[in-house]
């Protein structure tokens, strides 16, 4: 299986503060990996580093075969990041925003309408200015842009935030479909029940690092799924704790 992300002792700074202080992470093709950790642990920073938005200044960082320490911009078109911010323009319509995101990333305009339909952005919504939308609807527009772009690596930061139950289910379905199509997904979420059920593997982040595993991976209690033995890597069941804080 192809290695999609390889971080070794990765260090990244915001100003002079080390937001990543020695991250080791391996993610392979078609995996769904959950980053878990407390607020400020470095989950978002790992996702931003993998997207080439946060410069890795020391250690090794290779995403989709691109060395991020040399040229972080080279990977961006192949990666989609759904962050806390929606990256939408308030004065543009829903359709305009998604079309711009797709075309800017080199995609085809024809992928916009199916993505809007998939996210339930139908009827008058495509022609509605984003400024008029609720937080949940804005989130869905952001997701539609991601779906329309369909990048090789999906980086999702608290993807369930702001969505109602119906659209959380929809999001989970989109993630599973993406993996079936050969995409790889790394997500950070505090929605433990949903995220554990979605992820094939869990990586714990603490203090801007992925602390070494103090003990061999053991059974992981998954809400609603019971205890699962380590080693099995199947999307939909969290199967391995790579490291424990």
């Amino acid at each position: 299986m192809d290695q999609v992300i390889r971080l070794r002792s990765a260090v990244a700074l915001v100003g002079r503060f080390p937001v990543l202080a020695g991250v080791d992470l391996d993610v392979f093709g078609t995996e769904i990996v959950l980053l878990q950790g407390a607020n400020g642990a470095g989950k978002t920073s790992i996702l931003r580093a993998c997207a080439g938005l946060l410069r890795v200044v020391a250690g090794e960082a290779c995403v989709l075969g691109v060395e991020l320490t040399e040229d972080p911009r080279a990977v961006r078109r192949r990666v989609g990041l759904l962050g806390h911010a929606t990256a939408l323009y308030d004065d543009l319509t829903v359709a305009d925003n998604v079309t711009f995101a797709v075309r800017a990333a080199g995609g085809e305009r024809s992928s916009v309408r199916p993505a809007l339909d998939r996210l339930g952005l139908t009827g008058r919504l495509p022609a509605t200015r984003v400024a008029s939308l609720s937080a949940g609807q804005r989130r869905r527009v952001s997701l539609a842009a991601l779906v329309a772009r369909d990048p090789e690596l999906w980086l999702l930061d608290e993807p369930h935030a702001g969505l109602d139950a119906e659209h959380r289910d929809l999001l989970d379905g989109l993630v599973r479909d993406a993996v079936v199509r050969g995409r790889t997904v790394v997500l950070a979420s505090h929605e433990h029940h949903r995220a554990h059920a979605l992820a094939g593997r869990i990586v714990t982040v603490a203090g801007g690092a992925t602390p070494p595993d103090p003990a061999p991976p053991g059974p992981l209690p998954v809400p609603g799924a019971g205890a699962v033995a380590a080693g099995a890597v199947a999307p939909g069941v969290a199967s391995e704790v790579t490291s424990v804080a």
Partner: protein, 222 residues
């Protein structure tokens, strides 16, 4: 790069068309500037005729500040700048697109202002080729320099106050050259107006080159 420039320019102009900030706020502001300066310099027709071209370019410069601020505040809201970076668009293309959108707005504002100084100040518009060339070069120079300094100040908390501090001194040669070219065109100063176009052209070329080469890096650091 050209495709990216068209895409970004189209997006910025679409935002302006939908928000109507330029037509509903910046254009009236430009006319108010003319009025206020007109009152400040008395209503003597001779004085107003002579200072008209200078006031025109000062008003254009102030409008440039607003257009540049607006252009980069769009990208500051809700992580749009990260979206732009993540799209993988060419830095030079983004620069050209944003500068083109700003230039298009400035051209519209210049038309309004030209009408204003003719009606209010009784300014003469002679040698249309020289005047149009002057406007074209000065507009490109202002838009290019404004875009370069706009991205430099974009990521800073003090961007609203820093941008005028950076741009106004730098744009002084444009105001000087464009005003002198206009005065020469209408015969209010001696000498050919065309020689000032060399200054305007050199300024525009310099900032276009700087922008195309450096904008990507400046956007990363913003």
């Amino acid at each position: 790069m050209w495709r990216d420039a068209l895409l970004v320019a189209g997006k910025d102009l679409r935002v302006e068309a939908r928000s109507r900030v330029t037509t509903n706020q910046v254009a009236p502001y430009a006319l108010i500037v003319l009025f206020v300066f007109g009152f400040a310099f008395d209503q003597d027709q001779y004085v107003l005729t002579h200072i008209g071209p200078g006031l025109f370019w000062v008003a254009v410069l102030l409008c440039t500040l607003l257009a540049v601020q607006r252009s980069f505040s769009l990208e500051a809201a809700d992580g749009a700048r990260d979206g732009l970076r993540l799209s993988g668009l060419d830095g030079g293309g983004i620069f050209l697109g944003k500068a083109a959108a700003i230039a298009a707005q400035l051209v519209a504002l210049e038309a309004v202002l030209a009408f204003g100084i003719v009606v209010l100040f009784g300014a003469h518009l002679a040698h249309p080729l020289l005047l149009l060339t002057t406007c074209a070069l000065a507009t490109v120079g202002l838009a290019a320099a404004g875009t370069v300094y706009g991205v430099m100040s974009a990521g800073l908390r003090v961007r609203e106050t820093l941008l005028p501090l950076l741009l106004l001194p730098v744009a002084a040669p444009i105001v000087l050259g464009a005003t002198q070219a206009w005065l020469a065109a209408v015969g209010l100063v001696t000498g050919s107006g065309w020689r000032w176009l060399t200054l305007l052209g050199a300024f525009a070329a310099m900032y276009l080159t700087i922008g195309v080469l450096a904008f990507g890096t400046l956007l990363e650091e913003a």
